[in-house]
Symmetry: C2
């Protein structure tokens, strides 16, 4: 095996019956990327000894780093530890440090300690223990010739703690890796095929060790250039060309979300915003407040879900709704301007529309206001309720971003 | 191969660098479960010919149904179709029906058709075409001896359309499967280890073909019993025992989300609700409005993110906030009762707290009101911003559920 590769194995029946969505693998891959370790494959298997062993056997053929998550909990369906013990031909011994940690962990929380928790301090004799300060199941690192096998709890924040604290420093020291570089351009307003058509010549002229990928996501297309063993400035030159070709739809030239871009913009300008969203039901506010420090520029939001609350709480004139309808240019403009007023904010974005399939032609109106200027845009939301919520939220955030830039 | 198994292969570099979370596999698994087809493994590989072929080769050893998603788009990094053509030793031919559909698709949307879109009508000669009414890339079904290989676009709603319309009916007709039964109990208020301790004897007494799984999710633990080839009433008996053992923390005995349970409750009672959430930033409203038909019982919500908006928009008495603090029993009770009033709703839930790590001891207060009765609960949110938002949202929804039941 010349190149370093990592395989990620996730364990748990809940993954195979679809009760849990695997977010761990994506998170782990994101951490490995900057240190130049590509993920070869991701595999999800059930809580079955044979399947776990088969996955390890098959992955060690292609990867020298195997990261396994899940199946380390205190309950009886958690079988990863005994399986690894058998595979690496070792026995469980009590680890005093982990035992002390578990005792303290429960004492601090005023919770009695159970036998099953104590068993988490029984660990394979021949592995390196990766101490878990934020939970009770430690990680384990086994070495076999040139390969490492790392077993981690499936609880996301515990897994993340161990990866950040133990695994990344370990891998950086122990593996030589090629230099991977990624540059991402975020766009909104044009579909994947259209962008591809614009980039035909650009793609043809890319050197072999730079790859272009399209990542479409309901009203947003991310374009990612990946370079292997190439100098920074070469990738930079191609990325600059890409930016020029797509400047009319560019949101940002960093791998950021729309809500982060808006936050940076408002922070730089010292301005504030507010939201009055009906059909998106809190989803725009959720996105805005998912950014740390949003309280410096986000005054607040409202979800006036009924006509009654649009009139009584947001104080949209009932005559406007009666005359033009609750989903109309006039209503969303009134919602946005009332919202600026109520929250004493510099900008407001408003939404009113139909998100259920085949409901009133799926018309959605988005309004924008800064108190003196008002704009409204109509769009069609052609998918199901869940996708339409994301689609409209992305559209509203992008329109707000453009409105803020246009009305500084 | 005696038993029917399915393997799911997802294709795309974006999965391996962690830019995209794979939600398709979970969704597919959920559809296969009720028709008794267990998922053996889920594999994610990059846009590389050899990796795709290797995954197919390895999965066909264990599974007779292979579902492949992704890599069917119009762009040049979409290589699944040529790879399958080569693997199944066939050539591309133009499909008139698909070509007509693509032309109509673009004409309807008033968008010019590109060469790359036309190429989507070129399809392998020896496969069954799975018509895609909601997008431009059709699915493909290849047969080889007793095995089927199904290739689908990666865009979730297109993939979902083809699975529902074509694949499920096909599999039900062509495969004999054992009888899988699942029963799920949703609980809130006790940790995984505690529940496991309570269920020790219960687990020991379960017959071999009934399995218990724990699915913990920030303030919620789902318990799933899975039975293979067993009569309904046997599983039912064990499930009833489980319900009795955990009745003090049971949310529902169906695999439902808290927001759906609340919706059913309010619909049955003919009552309405409203929300005033500060630190959760719209997340509770998002959850409530994710349920179809929420407009019959959800009057609206507010995200008074600043003290100013709590006082001026929600009209919480500034003296209360000054005396007791913005994160306090008194403030959330005032928020909830003002919310009931403003939105003219039967119930309100309110939240104010600190969700950043090590921020004011991470105290969160949750308030509940029906206009005459008010309750507040304090909790600690010990994780990061993202997890704390989910944790507190789940706690608030569960407290609202209990409050509604207690104050009919």
């Amino acid at each position: 095996m010349k190149q370093t590769f990592c395989s990620i194995i996730t364990i748990g029946d809940e993954l195979l019956i679809g009760q849990t969505i695997d977010t761990n693998s994506a998170w782990i891959a994101q951490q490995l990327n900057p240190i130049g370790i590509p993920v070869k494959r991701r595999i999800a298997v059930g809580d079955q000894k044979n399947d776990i062993i088969q996955a390890i056997e098959s992955e060690r053929k292609d990867s020298n780093i195997i990261i396994i998550t899940g199946g380390l909990g205190p309950t009886s369906d958690d079988i990863t530890k005994p399986v690894l013990c058998e595979y690496f031909n070792t026995t469980l011994v009590e680890n005093q440090e982990v035992l002390n940690h578990i005792s303290t962990y429960f004492a601090k929380r005023n919770r009695p300690m159970l036998d099953s928790n104590l068993r988490q301090a029984m660990l394979p004799a021949n592995c390196e223990i990766l101490f878990n300060a934020v939970g009770t199941a430690p990680g384990m690192l086994f070495k076999d010739q040139e390969q490492v096998f790392i077993s981690l709890p499936g609880v996301p924040f515990e897994m993340q703690y161990i990866i950040t604290t133990h695994i990344i420093p370990y891998l950086v020291t122990h593996f030589k890796t090629p230099n991977f570089l990624h540059k991402t351009l975020v766009t909104s307003g044009e579909g994947e095929s259209f962008i591809a058509e614009r980039l035909k010549a650009f793609e043809k002229n890319l050197p072999e060790n730079i790859k272009l990928a399209y990542l479409p996501k309901l009203n947003i297309v991310k374009l990612r250039l990946t370079a292997v063993d190439i100098e920074d400035h070469v990738l930079e030159t191609h990325f600059e060309t890409l930016k020029t070709l797509l400047q009319h739809i560019t949101v940002t030239d960093k791998d950021m979300e729309l809500e982060q871009v808006i936050g940076q913009l408002l922070n730089k300008m010292g301005k504030t915003m507010s939201i009055a969203e009906s059909c998106t039901g809190g989803s725009i506010a959720s996105r805005i407040t998912s950014v740390k420090g949003a309280s410096t520029y986000f005054k607040g939001g409202m979800v006036p879900y009924t006509i009654e609350s649009k009139e009584n709480v947001l104080q949209v004139d009932s005559a406007i709704i009666e005359t033009h309808g609750v989903v109309s240019e006039q209503t969303v403009i009134s919602m946005a301007s009332k919202c600026v007023e109520k929250f004493n904010a510099d900008y407001a974005v408003s939404v009113s529309g139909y998100l259920e399939k085949n409901d009133h032609d799926n018309v959605v109106w988005i309004g924008l206001s800064n108190g003196t200027h008002h704009i409204a845009k109509k769009m069609i939301a052609p998918y199901d309720r869940e996708k339409n919520t994301i689609l409209v939220t992305n559209a509203a955030l992008n329109l707000l971003r453009i409105f803020i830039i246009g009305h500084p």
